[in-house]
């Protein structure tokens, strides 16, 4: 019964598709190359990755790759329930840090980007230069950011010098690269490199808002804050939605800055510096737990898809409005 309707739907779908194909031949011609290409380089490897997560893959079986012993869901089981699984060691810290890191970075990058965009959306002498200068951190490669800030964070480095000796904000020079301050040592450079792009995106969006809307509001007696809340924010919502998603993905999958800041790329970033991606990479290659590593990656992907689903529900109207 069920299959029958499904089949019916399928044929109807096919007819619809056929008709659609004729009217949208040009659109298909444009998109098919991309689709094939993406299928090849995204979905094929992903499928392999999922298969890997059901295999016992360690240094002895790795050479057999997909012919390694099949163990079903054991990797998932041991990942979720077996406390002694080496892949799990320290994962708790990585998850906690990634949550903090993602929330703080995403929020601050968006908020600060918008705030500075508002500042820049008014004429003042040298605005072009200021705008270009602010964008520069975005051009610095993240593997350079990791090394550079690693120096600046040293206990006898420039940041402590400025904070303690020049500005007297702190009594004594704290450690940034060891202990719980490490999380700030990775969050702040990420924000530094991230916000300029958001600033330019928001600035661009602000400039598309026609001035007469504000004019009308001003005549109605709305003060600046009300204008911001009732005009600017709603109009920025679509931009905000997309950038929120991109920032969220980027930050959860952040790797370069942490991996280049600690131990010259081979070290352990510490219980407050380890992120999911550095931990997963270490687990896969450091422990040769490729099966468990793939299982963990797949679980992470599922969690991410759930988040994207929530995101889509939250912003569906904005995304479809255009």
């Amino acid at each position: 019964m069920q299959s029958e309707t499904a089949a019916k739907r399928k044929t109807r779908g096919f007819a619809y598709f056929q008709k659609g194909f004729r009217t949208h031949r040009f659109a298909y011609a444009l998109i098919v190359p991309t689709l094939l290409f993406m299928l090849l380089v995204h979905f094929l490897p992903m499928a392999q990755g999922i298969i890997m997560s059901t295999l016992k893959l360690n240094q002895f079986t790795l050479a057999r790759y997909l012919h390694a012993p099949f163990i079903g869901l054991d990797n998932y089981k041991s990942l979720l329930f077996d406390g002694s699984n080496p892949v799990r060691q320290g994962m708790g810290f990585a998850v906690r840090n990634t949550v903090i890191y993602t929330i703080v970075v995403t929020f601050l990058v968006l908020a600060w980007g918008l705030a500075v965009a508002m500042l820049m959306n008014r004429p003042f002498p040298g605005r072009g230069i200021a705008r270009t200068a602010m964008l520069l951190p975005w051009v610095v490669p993240s593997y350079v950011v990791g090394v550079l800030w690693g120096f600046m964070w040293q206990q006898d480095g420039i940041i402590n010098y400025l904070l303690v000796d020049v500005l007297h904000l702190m009594g004594e020079k704290p450690f940034w690269l060891i202990g719980h301050n490490t999380i700030w040592a990775i969050i702040i450079p990420t924000i530094w490199r991230g916000w300029p792009f958001l600033m330019i995106v928001f600035l661009a969006a602000l400039q598309t808002i026609p001035e007469d809307i504000y004019e009308a509001a001003r005549i109605d007696g709305a003060h600046k804050l009300r204008q911001f809340v009732h005009i600017t924010l709603p109009l920025l919502k679509p931009v905000f939605a997309v950038q929120l998603l991109f920032q969220f993905i980027n930050n959860v999958y952040s790797y370069n800055i942490v991996s280049t800041m600690f131990g010259n790329g081979a070290g352990y970033p510490g219980e407050w510096g380890d992120l999911l991606m550095t931990a997963l990479t270490r687990q896969s290659f450091g422990y040769w737990a490729f099966g468990s590593g793939s299982a963990a990656s797949f679980l992470l992907m599922v969690v991410m898809l759930v988040f994207v689903g929530i995101w889509y529900r939250m912003f569906r109207s904005e995304l479809n409005a255009q």
């Binding site: 991309t34 380089v41 995204h42 051009v139 593997y143 550079l148 420039i158 993905i249 010259n264």
Partner: protein
């Protein structure tokens, strides 16, 4: 205080605030250049002085000498440049299709393009490596440690986001332009090619800069998929200044500067298009 002077004062303080933000933002970049003019041991000691009695310009000579940095530089330019071209082309085509046509599966395609971004890179790494091996064994085409292997992977990675950027750009161009062109006798392709493409140059530049900078930044796949200095990119080469027994932080900082400045220069020259591209549509999401 009159209203006007207080408004003036407010504006002045906002401008001052803006410039303070500029200084704080640019400071780390200044520091990178500044550090690159010190000796290795001065950098390791931690630099806290702003005076520079004897700038070590020799770092900028030695960095090419210690490792063959020019080759890495060339490889990065070729790989990232061609990636920009290919990913940009895909993005223009697919972005236009998704922006203008509501065809069967267009929403599914849009969402699956975004969901490719959810796949953790580390999950890809091994499968792609082995797929490349298989291609070589089955078809005789070497993929690992080749330009086109890297370009293929990067193009695949950066196409999805580029599609989104280009799509929103096309959405911002009024569709009556093509409609009137079609009425005038153009085919759909001609309307796209002759009317829309020229209008979307700023969008393409914005997308291109985005792709180039993201590819320029990639580390993990470059580590694994390239094995010889003929193909390895800057993020791989620059790590060679870090030895187990002797680390040349002076050269590392000089190399970082050299890696950053040309990109800045190109960015500086194209940013007008970049910003107008962003303004025109890339913001719509």
């Amino acid at each position: 205080m009159t209203r006007r002077t207080s408004a003036k004062l407010a504006s002045l303080s906002l401008t001052t605030l803006t410039w303070i933000i500029v200084i704080v933002t640019v400071f780390p970049i200044f520091w990178m250049v500044f550090a690159s003019l010190h000796t290795n041991s001065e950098i390791m000691k931690g630099i806290t002085s702003f005076s520079l009695p004897s700038p070590q310009w020799s770092n900028y000579r030695n960095m090419w000498d210690m490792i063959n940095f020019a080759v890495y530089f060339r490889n990065s330019l070729v790989i990232c440049g061609l990636t920009t071209v290919f990913a940009g082309a895909f993005a223009v085509m697919a972005g236009y299709a998704l922006a203008r046509f509501r065809f069967a599966g267009s929403r599914t395609i849009s969402m699956s393009i975004i969901s490719t971004q959810m796949i953790p890179g580390i999950m890809f790494l091994f499968p792609i490596y082995l797929m490349f091996l298989w291609i070589k064994q089955a078809l005789g085409i070497p993929m690992i440690d080749t330009y086109w292997g890297m370009i293929l992977v990067y193009t695949a990675f950066y196409t999805p986001i580029s599609i989104w950027i280009m799509r929103s750009f096309f959405v911002s161009i009024p569709s009556d332009l093509e409609e009137s062109a079609v009425i005038d006798g153009c085919t759909k392709f001609q309307a796209f090619y002759k009317i829309i493409l020229p209008l979307s140059v700023p969008g393409m530049i914005a997308t291109g800069i985005y792709i180039f900078l993201t590819a320029w930044d990639e580390l993990l796949f470059a580590w694994v998929l390239t094995t010889s200095s003929d193909v390895q990119t800057i993020p791989v080469g620059i790590r060679l200044f870090v030895g187990q027994y002797n680390t040349r932080y002076d050269l590392l900082m000089a190399a970082s500067t050299v890696v950053t400045l040309p990109v800045m220069a190109v960015f500086f020259l194209t940013q007008r298009y970049f910003i107008s591209g962003m303004t025109a549509g890339a913001v719509k999401g």
